[in-house]
């Protein structure tokens, strides 16, 4: 359904040009949960911005249902890492979740139901009239997720959404996202730098190389559903996968370092 086709992105021009994404190619299937993992500074955010249409690629293209993406599509939602800065602080939780629905031209009652259902699915029903800054970090990110769900996207992009919450909240949010994904039947592209998280959540993992980014490896995660923070993580298959991904990233990182040293110039690092 989503096809990243020879995607490349270079920032700047001439001598100062930085190649963030070299040549990326992969596909995301309907209802799939794809985790994109790679070393820090490997252009994960750049990739998501190209997929979402917020950033124009330098080479290649991204297609959704065979349509080239050249701006944010209506069937796509994006959840940012910085939840605190992506919610509108002057709007209540209800208003925040309802605001993007105006584009969809629902009937009033229908829109209200979408909002309430989404807020209920992230367990924030009692907080509809509160303001984002009255809530904890984890709750704010849940508001952002509810807003994305109410928008009824076919595909939801998530940019390290749980990177700035504490470990316990993070585990709760991971289970929550698996649960709402089942409820809403939405396709998820989830960017993370946390290997455990990518194995725990994903149906498939795309491992990226350091910048200029390419696909290092694609892995199917064959862990039983529903996943469980304790049981799943105790399975030999989980341990095997996380070790595999870890080595895959590490090996490539070292290779890049050696290459950089031998050429006597600093390794190019994208954002």
């Amino acid at each position: 359904m989503l096809k990243v086709d020879h995607l490349g992105k270079t920032y700047g021009e001439g001598d100062t040009a930085v190649e963030a994404i070299g040549d990326l190619e992969f596909e995301v299937r309907e209802k799939e949960f794809v985790c994109i993992v790679g070393p820090s500074g490997c252009g994960k955010t750049t990739l998501l911005k190209c997929i979402s249409g917020l950033l124009a690629p330098s080479r290649g293209e991204v297609r959704l249902h065979d349509q080239r993406i050249d701006g944010p599509p209506e069937r796509m939602a994006l959840v940012f890492q910085e939840y605190g800065r992506s919610l509108y602080p002057w709007m209540s939780v209800r208003q925040n979740v309802a605001f993007p629905l105006r584009r969809k031209r629902h009937a009033k009652r229908e829109a209200a139901e979408l909002v309430e259902r989404a807020v209920e699915s992230v367990d924030l029903t009692g907080f509809l009239e509160r303001y984002p800054w009255e809530l904890s970090g984890g709750m704010q990110q849940r508001v952002a997720i509810a807003r994305a769900l109410a928008y009824q996207p076919e595909i939801m992009l998530m940019d390290e959404p749980f990177a700035s919450v504490d470990a316990q909240t993070r585990a709760d949010l991971e289970d929550l996202i698996l649960e709402v994904r089942r409820q809403y039947g939405v396709t998820v592209v989830f960017v993370t730098h946390d290997i455990d998280e990518s194995v725990y959540l994903g149906d498939r993992i795309v491992v990226l190389t350091p910048a200029p980014t390419q696909v290092q490896e694609m892995l199917d995660v064959e862990l039983p559903d529903p996943r469980d923070q304790l049981e799943t993580k105790e399975l030999p298959e989980f341990t095997r996968l996380r070790a595999h991904v870890y080595r895959s990233i590490k090996r490539r990182g070292q290779a890049a370092d050696r290459e950089a040293v031998s050429e006597e110039r600093p390794a190019a690092v994208g954002s």
Binding site: P72, L78, W90, R103, Y131, W133
Partner: protein, 260 residues
């Protein structure tokens, strides 16, 4: 000392110190024969005779009307133009030298021009007040719009919020803390320019009254006018702060939670 007691003490100081100053002034000026500094009691009784409420209709109302109209125009034009310029770097560059030049002109220097071109009626005063109040509001609005968080901008784009929705429900609220800061600066400018413009060419108004009293050696009247202007400025600022607190409640909340 508990926070509660400290607050009461602060509030108490705010009330008692001005009263003490007034009492000291009253004692010092009591039985004064100094022509320029009449006894406070004289000033206060003149104040009551003049402003409660004999000259309210003839001087206070016209003054406030000019000020309100000039300020109102500055607010509307400043915010409107600011939202426009804030969204376009190119327009901002083109407008910058003009804006910087116009706002650098000391406002009273415009009075002779305004009198000549517009005349000595109310519209001249409204023009001067609006012209001067415009700049802080305009520049702050531009600042507010350009300073909107990139993540918030991208969220808005991602959800396809554009046009009027984007303007009224995203840009304007996001810029409102800066807009209010500009409006507050302009409010004191409006009062100053109201007085100055009434001193130059007018037949009524508080500024006219103060100057006229001085020229006719009615010193207690002059003092009472100055007192009234001080009270007006204080009250206007107080009212403004109340409104600002209400409108920007979310901003204080968000700010406080970001710091904690």
């Amino acid at each position: 000392m508990t926070a509660r007691r400290r607050r009461w003490l602060a509030a108490g100081l705010e009330v008692t110190v001005p009263i003490l100053v007034l009492v000291a002034w009253g004692l010092w000026s009591a039985g004064s024969n100094n022509y320029y500094y009449p006894p406070l009691t004289d000033i206060l009784s003149t104040f009551a005779d003049t402003w409660l409420f004999e000259r309210v209709g003839s001087d206070v109302v016209p003054s406030l009307m000019r000020m309100g109209l000039g300020y109102g125009i500055a607010v509307l034009v400043g915010i409107g133009l600011g939202l426009l310029l804030g969204q376009s770097p190119r327009a901002r560059r083109a407008a910058a030298p003009i804006v910087e030049f116009l706002r650098a002109i000391p406002p009273p220097a415009l009075l002779p021009f305004a009198i000549l071109v517009i005349g000595v009626d109310d519209s001249m005063k409204v023009f001067i007040i609006a012209f001067v109040c415009l700049w802080p509001i305009l520049l702050n609005t531009i600042d507010g719009v350009t300073g909107i968080d990139p993540t918030l901008r991208e969220t808005t784009r991602m959800y396809g919020i554009e046009g009027r929705e984007r303007l009224w429900r995203v840009m304007l609220p996001a810029a409102s803390p800066q807009i209010f800061a500009g409006m507050r600066t302009s409010l004191s400018l409006a009062l100053i320019l109201m007085v100055i413009s009434e001193m130059v060419a007018s037949t009524n108004g508080i500024g006219y009254f103060v100057l006229q009293s001085q020229r006719t050696f009615a010193l207690p009247e002059m003092w009472s006018g100055i007192l009234l202007l001080g009270i007006l400025g204080y009250a206007l600022n107080g009212a403004f702060v109340l409104i600002e607190r209400r409108v920007l409640r979310w901003h204080r909340g968000a700010h406080a939670s970001a710091l904690s």
